[in-house]
Amino acid sequence: MSFAQCQHYYLLRPIPSDTLPLLELKEDPDPIYDPRERDLNETDLRSALGDFDSRFLSISPPQDRYTGNEDLDELDLQQNPAGLMPKDIKNLDFDVQWGKKRKASKKLKRRLQMWLWSYSFCPVLYAWNDLGSRFWPRFVRAGSCYSKRSCSVPEGMVCKPAKSTHITLLRWCAWIPVQYPIITECKCSCAN
């Protein structure tokens, strides 16, 4: 096999995907790869990171009610949906039932639309994740999609990630900036 062919082989790489949520990153357990005490000077790290968004990043274990637990109560679902009513709900024809005309009042129509919008809305639930000592800051408030019930009528669709963003943090290896993906929008969709 020629050198050129070998080169081709070394260019062969798997293809990443933007699908979320992420799976757990398996780290080498050897503590030799951990940063030492002197690599953790907060002043230096803050200046290396630049923008520190404390809504999403934390150096110490956050003490608020989101900490690690999955016990999200109804309060978390009070999030009002942002933006305009989804087109498919806005355009529903409430005047037809079993193929027959049955005029719906403006008020009834509005109530139906608001209820359907509320029922099918997929809030982003944020929870603090511990990424381990090789990331700084090691706590990230990552988004996930509510999945305890179906979001469609009839049942069948579930809330799935629709948009994401990156937050920058540092990775030990003489501390390099890392783009960490975070779910920012969920959508009621069929699983595939």
Partner: protein, 122 residues
């Protein structure tokens, strides 16, 4: 070196051909692949692989497609026409990888279909 836990079961390039199609252990070290330059973590992963004959009657037919059943029979009647179906993954899983992209940014992303979960004749 690439660590193959079933090494004792192999003779030359392949597993005993009389064994039916099934999943085998394979740990892939990214360093061995020359990928330590762009993959930061993990250092490697259990990838597994599929190998074995697609011969009837064997358990490998548990995951065979209808097309593989037809192809097996065409091959049996006239081996010159088509090859036997091959032993390949039927289910795959993803892993998360922390890596440098082409612009040297460090990214954490999912790599889909990296780990064999089940094998079958295709």
């Amino acid at each position: 070196q690439v660590d193959l836990k079933t090494a004792e079961a192999t003779d030359g390039a392949s597993v005993d051909p009389k064994q039916g199609c099934k999943k085998h252990e394979l740990y892939v070290s990214f360093r061995d692949l020359g990928w330590q330059d762009w993959i930061i973590a993990p250092e490697g992963y259990a990838a597994y692989y599929c190998e074995g004959e697609c011969v009837f009657p064997l358990n490998s037919y548990m995951n065979a497609t209808n097309h593989a059943i037809v192809q097996t029979l065409v091959h049996f009647i006239n081996p010159e026409t088509v090859p036997k179906p091959c032993c390949a993954p039927t289910q795959l899983h993803g892993i998360s990888v922390l890596y440098f992209d082409d612009s040297s940014n460090v990214i954490l992303k999912k790599y889909r279909n990296m780990v064999v979960r089940a094998c079958g004749c295709h």
